[in-house]
Subunit: 376 residues, 2 copies
Amino acid sequence: MPESFDPPQRILLGPGPSNVEARILQAMLKPILGYMDPVYLKCMDEIQSLLRSVFETSNRVTFSISGTGGAGMEACMANLVEEGEEVVACVNGFFGQRAADLAQRWGANVVRVEFEWGQPVDMEKVREAFRKSAARIVIMIHAETSTGMIQPIVELKSLRKIRDAIFIVDTVTSLGAHPVAIDRNEIDASYSCSQKGIGAPPGLSPVCFSERALDKIRKRKSRPRSWYLDVDLIDKYWSSDRIYHHTSPALMNYALREALAIILEEGLDNRWERHRRNSEAFAAGIESMGLEMLVAPGHRLWTLNAVRIPAGIDDARVRGRLLNEYNIEIGGGFGALKGKIWRVGLMGSGSTKNNVLLLLAALQRILKEEGFPVRS
Amino acid sequence: MPESFDPPQRILLGPGPSNVEARILQAMLKPILGYMDPVYLKCMDEIQSLLRSVFETSNRVTFSISGTGGAGMEACMANLVEEGEEVVACVNGFFGQRAADLAQRWGANVVRVEFEWGQPVDMEKVREAFRKSAARIVIMIHAETSTGMIQPIVELKSLRKIRDAIFIVDTVTSLGAHPVAIDRNEIDASYSCSQKGIGAPPGLSPVCFSERALDKIRKRKSRPRSWYLDVDLIDKYWSSDRIYHHTSPALMNYALREALAIILEEGLDNRWERHRRNSEAFAAGIESMGLEMLVAPGHRLWTLNAVRIPAGIDDARVRGRLLNEYNIEIGGGFGALKGKIWRVGLMGSGSTKNNVLLLLAALQRILKEEGFPVRS
């Protein structure tokens, strides 16, 4: 028999999960229902409608996939990519690389348009690669969680002047915290997660698909290999057909519903503004301490803030001290940025003035003790 | 803004989810942790160890997949099946059919050994089909949720006298309520779910893989298409490598851990015996009312009890009355058995003497009112 499990109360300022509001946790205690209970089906309808507001879309096919953000990414690739077709993928970080890898796993011949991690995607190069290719799919990461960089997805639609295409956009670290404007930006497929800007626990992946995307799926030569992530089958459960596909994770969806309701109560504009304000305050604090942000101003995510680790400072040691002495979690870097940056998440209910102040103060104390000449 | 969400307190006696014990729900309120937090990693280690006890296995690769039971089924097929290889699938219900379909989606040339739904799999026919084929994979459903039939998986290993093979066994509706004896039965891969015999909320799929299964995966000519369900990548996160794969659904795993601890506190033998006793009491009650069970004695699941709907009785109407007048959910039939059976789940904390008595009493009243000559 294991000992009792008493996790400490952390302040989660890493790449996600963030801390979950009590009201969302309470929603998970509501009586559980069967997956065909009329009351549960109504809850699903509400989730779809709430998600459409947050995605800023009128896409009918908008729902939560019963898996984490990676399952949403895979759902897009598994359904939209056909064997041997060309796909253009914009890569300027770990998740761009992963999306390109997944497209390849699902049979695509991937044209990677690569940039240094932390540098913006140059749309001229994307346009050139797209023009030279026969690609009918372009993949872009709106919010690159590995670097803290945001990419203006508004520029994608200009590619349609060259050739019609499906735009798949990763909004894992932007949905609920940054405007995504799926319809206005003419995005055809997007996937996100429950535990970052949305503020629910991890476990679900909100997705949406345009009519143009569904049309590409309907015209596939063969059905997608993946049954669990088959968008047509999942849609037949979420839509009025109500055909059983899998046993819906009811409590996770209760949490998602509550988190989405909280977002609309706050108001999308207010919520974006709150994330912007706290992120900018954090970056100002970091810079005034004599540290540097990885990403240039104007390209920074409000959710995920990447700080360059100063020379001579031990990444793991500082993060360990934050965790053990202050109960604060922040994230480290991935791949090329391992040991070079800290990733500070200010998302959902975690994006607060007090969290910014507290983390800056704790970091300042630790860095001083570690011998870094903190400006004050 | 949606109205407030106030689901009624149902007594869930369908195919799952079952009602979740307060102690398990409380576990989901414990402070959430990041996916690399040392305290969370310890929780994962404990889940692995607890799952091994419940699966009755020493398989190192034993963990929860971050999706429902269907994701576990797909993980087995996506990793073990290679393009064009022959697979023998035993089919005597909806989930046998689904498993065969999934093996086919993932590239198998499937030899279906089919039996009437609700009839046992005849091992002689399986042996014959296996001998004639070149199959190195055999798929069997231990607990067929669509019919309430259990299959003695102990017989599978005799096939090794003919040819070595990988046995994939579906324990979705047996794990935690029936003995599964993965090691003693020489099962190579098994998948289950969190919300039936385990008694946690839906959303996770416990799986385990033998060394023989891992060896087959390692020798694949190409990596599995699925990244989300790539067992090797998931194992690299659960094992001491601790390489990030996806953001683990922390609260769901807290619930799973608590549910598994409850199982071991009750004791596997006691838990199996409780499920047996309540199922037999229910069947006796049904038969004494003049109704019939679908499955012959000795082949019945203790978790999922299928009752034949008497001629002249309206399936949907009776289930609707149970739900609306008594707040009791039971399940209907699938496919060939639609409108012909009710599926009564007595699983996890829902397998109680009181639930048996209550459902029998409610059903008796409704059937009388619906004009069925209930014996008394």
